[in-house]
């Protein structure tokens, strides 16, 4: 439980944090323009 709290407390840190998927999608659209 403490581990889960720690993960959600810093969502951008570590390998299992938030990924830049949304930005990658936008970048692909920009390259197609």
């Amino acid at each position: 439980m403490i581990y889960v709290i720690a993960i959600f407390d810093t969502p951008f840190r570590g390998e299992i944090g938030v990924s830049p998927e949304a930005l990658q999608m936008v970048y692909r659209q920009m390259q197609q323009d």
């Binding site: 810093t10 830049p20 930005l23 936008v26 920009m30 323009d33």
Partner: protein, 147 residues
């Protein structure tokens, strides 16, 4: 994160209405910012490093170029105003993300969680077995001889 990506996509669409050479310059700057964020800044923020403190700030270049633009027609003025508002939205979402990289739950909250976990473990240890090593430290206090 999704809000920042959406704001960038909207900004990219807005600057498509600028005349040349601003359009091509700004589109290249925004594209480069997105590439830099994905490939370089993301790796740094995974280590807890604020990306903009460890190198040049590419956002300043985008704003600098937008600020140079002087609208020649009312239509261009409207597009410029919309793009600047969209740029502000993008900056707000970006600052929120950067803040989350370096901030977290206050230390006092962590102490509270740790204390709660410790108390939980003691009571759990007492409840499963009377003969366990950590069982009922309260009993051991009661059985200790009084002076």
């Amino acid at each position: 994160m999704v809000a920042e990506a959406a704001a960038l996509a909207a900004l990219y669409r807005d600057i498509s209405g600028y005349p040349e050479p601003y359009r091509a310059n700004l589109k290249a700057l925004v594209r480069e910012y997105v590439r830099w964020t994905i490939e370089e800044a993301w790796a740094k923020q995974r280590q807890g490093i604020m990306p903009e403190l460890d190198g040049p700030n590419p956002v300043a270049g985008i704003y600098g170029r937008m600020a140079q633009f002087e609208p020649g027609t009312p239509g261009q003025g409207a597009i410029h105003q919309t793009a600047l508002k969209q740029f502000d939205s993008f900056i707000e979402t970006r600052r929120t993300r950067l803040y989350r990289v370096s901030s977290g739950m206050p230390h006092v909250m962590w102490y509270t969680v740790a204390l709660g976990a410790l108390i939980n473990m003691i009571f759990f240890g007492c409840s499963i077995s009377e003969s366990a090593p950590i069982s009922c430290w309260a009993d051991s206090f009661r059985s200790s001889p009084r002076p």
